[in-house]
């Protein structure tokens, strides 16, 4: 299975719009939404059937038994996350702050602290005989999004392991969910936009992918909103030896199409045409027919 991951650094450049178009064009049998904080891909890929839902358990969280607690305060002193709270004469663990390390349980001389299972999110699997779409939603305020991303990808592989191609929609940023989504990926498509912030964030995501040794290509969305910056991005890509696989013009059809729950390649529009060309170039590089620049 060849895995293509779509990233951007900056949010709102068009990762999900691109991912849903790629799913449509490739008739992908395996795809996943790894933006577990704010998943959106399910809104445009048109599954009407309810998904199979399962709990995602993050790390267990500490719980204080007030009957056993001897109020020695050691748990509060040793917790590095400020999650043990003294209320009046009672100790309580703030499960939003607790990272589940188990230090408080270890230092408690009275055996008053136990580690309890904790549901941190929900995994969803849409599937039929041919296709599997894996997605998840992290519960509000939960940490460990990287672990959930790993679960989303595992669920996709287990349900559609024989599919030749997997398309993965990533999350913004460069932190743990992005790092987790990079593992096992064959190619990263960075979607950037010609704004000073888009460019700044692109350099950080390109560096991140490089640090983890993942081959990267770039496309520029809304390229005509600032042509000077578009030229500058093309120049940057040349310098880094990264293939620029296409320019997508700003097209007011895109918002309308997305709002109708469709993919932009479902309608006849300028942006849709450009995305088709980006898709073809990306597939050529992913499947090795074109090495696409002198990637180091």
């Amino acid at each position: 299975m060849k895995q293509l991951l779509i990233l951007s650094g900056k949010g709102g450049t068009g990762k999900t719009t691109m991912a849903s178009a790629f799913v449509r064009l490739s008739k992908a049998r395996a795809y996943a939404d790894c933006d577990v904080d704010a998943p959106n891909l399910h809104l445009t890929v048109g599954w009407t059937k309810e998904p199979k839902r399962s709990h995602y358990f993050g790390l267990p969280r500490a719980k204080v038994d007030p009957d056993l607690c001897i109020r020695c305060d050691l748990c509060r002193q040793y917790c590095r996350f400020g999650s043990v709270i003294l209320e009046g004469s009672n100790y309580r663990v703030d499960s939003l702050a607790c990272e589940g390390c188990g230090v408080c349980e270890f230092v408690c001389p009275a055996g008053a602290i136990s580690m309890e299972p904790h549901v941190d999110g929900e995994l969803m699997l849409y599937s039929d005989a041919k296709t599997a779409f894996s997605t998840a939603k992290l519960n509000i305020g939960s940490g460990t999004s990287g672990l959930l991303v790993t679960e989303v990808k595992k669920q996709m592989r287990e349900s559609a392991g024989t599919a030749p191609l997997a398309i993965i929609d990533g999350s913004p940023g460069i932190g743990c969910p992005v790092i987790a989504s990079l593992s096992g990926v064959d190619l990263v498509l960075v979607v950037t936009e010609p704004s000073i912030t888009g460019m700044n964030d692109m350099t950080r995501i390109v560096e991140t992918a490089r640090k983890f040794g993942t081959k990267t290509v770039v496309c520029i969305n809304k390229c005509d909103t600032n042509m000077e910056n578009t030229r500058c991005i093309a120049e940057l890509c040349r310098g880094w030896g990264l293939a620029l696989v296409g320019l997508i013009p700003f097209d007011s059809e895109v918002v309308k199409t997305v709002n109708a729950g469709l993919s932009i390649v479902d309608v006849d529009c300028q942006a849709g045409e450009a995305v088709r060309s980006v898709f073809e170039k990306t597939m050529d590089i992913l499947f090795g027919e074109n090495e696409g620049g002198d990637e180091q």
Partner: protein, 290 residues
Amino acid sequence: MGLSELKVAVLSGKGGTGKTFITVNLAAVAGPSTYVDCDVEEPNGHLFFKPEYAAEEIVTVKMPVVDQRQCTGCRKCVDFCRFGALAYSNSGLMIFADICHSCGGCMLICPEGALSENEKPMGKVRKWVAENVHGLSGILNIGEPSGVPLIHELLSDMNDRPHPVFIDCPPGSACAVMESIKEADYCVLVSEPTLFGVHNLQIVWELVRLFKKPFGVVLNKVLPGEAMAESFCAERGMHILARIPFTQHLGLLNSQGSIAVREDEDTRAVFLDLLKAISKEVHCEATAHS
């Protein structure tokens, strides 16, 4: 509570809705004020303010180090670590810094005293002043998993700076966002009138209610005839503080890194009104709770 004591967090769930645009322009019309960039994975606010000089401070986290001579290979630390950050092999104990949460557990459990801690740099805080806006920007090192310690540092620095303080939050709804809104007196939820924008507004709406923060909504990139976000807010009784139209001129100013309220009178008026609306909301909130 008056404007000069206020801390306002700006968040959105979805990326690219205009958090930085709103936060930067609020700080610029409110000045003297402080702008805090908590989007430490992709900090951008300084690109607009363009400070000439920034003082830099390295932020570190505690990281275990092993003295292999004292390690007997009992593996107690390996079994204890819930994050899987330790492994023992023929070549001795290995520590995987990228997944360590700095809980200190391995050091506590080691019966031989073979583990100690040192400080590992994970990012930096830049402190700057540009005209009448003070800035604090957090910058996470590439490859670091979590920006939370950096956000913690930013928030502890902001109290001594001019108020109001405007906090530019990261996208999403996970730990980094929670940390960023913890100290805020008021939250501004930014949405755009797309299906994705509205879906993600729902997520941050749940977050601010969980933290019991007073909040209002700003609709950005508003197009005529597109009422999806409007009706979402109306159905839930969410107060819309401002509507900022989608215009190519604003898009261009923003893409160049210009501060719109300093270039465009209409936008300046919109942000002055937004600032007034926020002060009024906080004032009402304070009266209602006193």
